[in-house]
């Protein structure tokens, strides 16, 4: 059966088309586009993707307004039923604001917007989103954010590390994140939030200007893990 993925668009999302394009490129079928004001998700989804951008103009806190939108109530309910959810950049901020993932994303420690390709270490290559990577591998994925400085209290950080829920770590200085955390998994491994943009790195390893291809295996992992049998 064809892979059924939904990409949510909030007012101010600006990576939704890239996300849909990356999913379509890997899955071979288009992603379903869903608007923030929709109260329900399409049925039988294999993946929900929350894209990057500046939902609701980052009013109050990045991701805070989107977390209260009608569609997010449906996304939270779906995640609780085990529907896989990927949140990238602003999507990660929305996932923390919606409390689907622990912690919060603070203003970058250096105060500046960071926009470049960074080296990441794959910490957990056993999750459904990362199975096509190798643990300890270094990959290069673009980041573009102002509020990417991951924060959680020491107890939560220890818990995340102890349970293998740190998916990716920055292999170089980036934004001041606690323990260099770049991506976090839910307890069941079916929700992943990350600041770097894998959907911007699926084109070609031979053309670095297109972001490389290291993000492609994330979508390939998700496809292999979640496609309905």
């Amino acid at each position: 059966m064809a892979f059924r993925a939904a990409v949510i668009t909030f007012p101010g999302s600006n990576c939704d088309r890239d996300m849909a394009s990356a999913i379509a490129a890997v899955a071979g079928v288009p992603a379903i586009r869903v608007w923030h004001g929709d109260a329900e998700l399409p049925d039988r989804l294999d993946l929900v993707a929350l894209p990057g951008g500046f939902s609701y103009g980052d009013y109050l806190r990045s991701g805070a307004m989107a977390a209260t939108s009608p569609i997010m109530r449906a996304v939270v309910a779906a995640a609780e039923r085990g529907v896989p959810v990927l949140g990238v950049c602003n999507g990660f901020q929305v996932l923390t604001e919606a409390r689907l993932l622990p912690g919060a994303l603070l203003r970058n420690a250096g105060q500046r917007f960071v926009c470049r390709t960074v080296a990441l270490t794959v910490e957990n290559a056993a999750s459904p989103f990362t199975a096509h990577y190798t643990a300890g591998e270094t990959i290069r994925i673009p980041v573009a954010h102002h509020d990417g400085n991951y924060y959680a209290d020491t107890e939560t950080l220890d818990m995340l590390e102890g349970e293998g829920r740190v998916a990716f770590r920055y292999a170089e200085g980036c934004n001041g994140s606690a323990r260099d955390i770049a991506g976090v998994l839910s307890a069941n491994g079916r929700v992943l939030g990350m600041m770097p943009h894998p959907e911007r790195a699926i084109e070609s390893a031979a053309v670095p200007a297109l972001g490389g291809a290291d993000g492609r295996r994330l979508f390939e992992s998700a496809l292999a893990s979640f496609a309905a049998a």
């Binding site: 805070a64 919060a104 203003r107 105060q111 924060y151």
Partner: protein
Amino acid sequence: MQVRVLVRLKPGVLDPQGRAVHHALEGLGFAGVEDVRIGRLIELDLADGTDEATIRQMCEKLLANTVIESFTIEGAN
């Protein structure tokens, strides 16, 4: 009724904006600035009789992110 909610970063949470403002104050020649923390003031105009428990819920559900922020409510009955 007018209610003011003050939202602050919890102690121990890094405040890069506060740090930058701190440095700027020193750059302007103000001595003795020990620390600067930046928070947010939210003014709510509420129906008379809105109880504090409801305002607390507003804070916990939206106005503050209690993972990183604390809040105080002023002016509630």
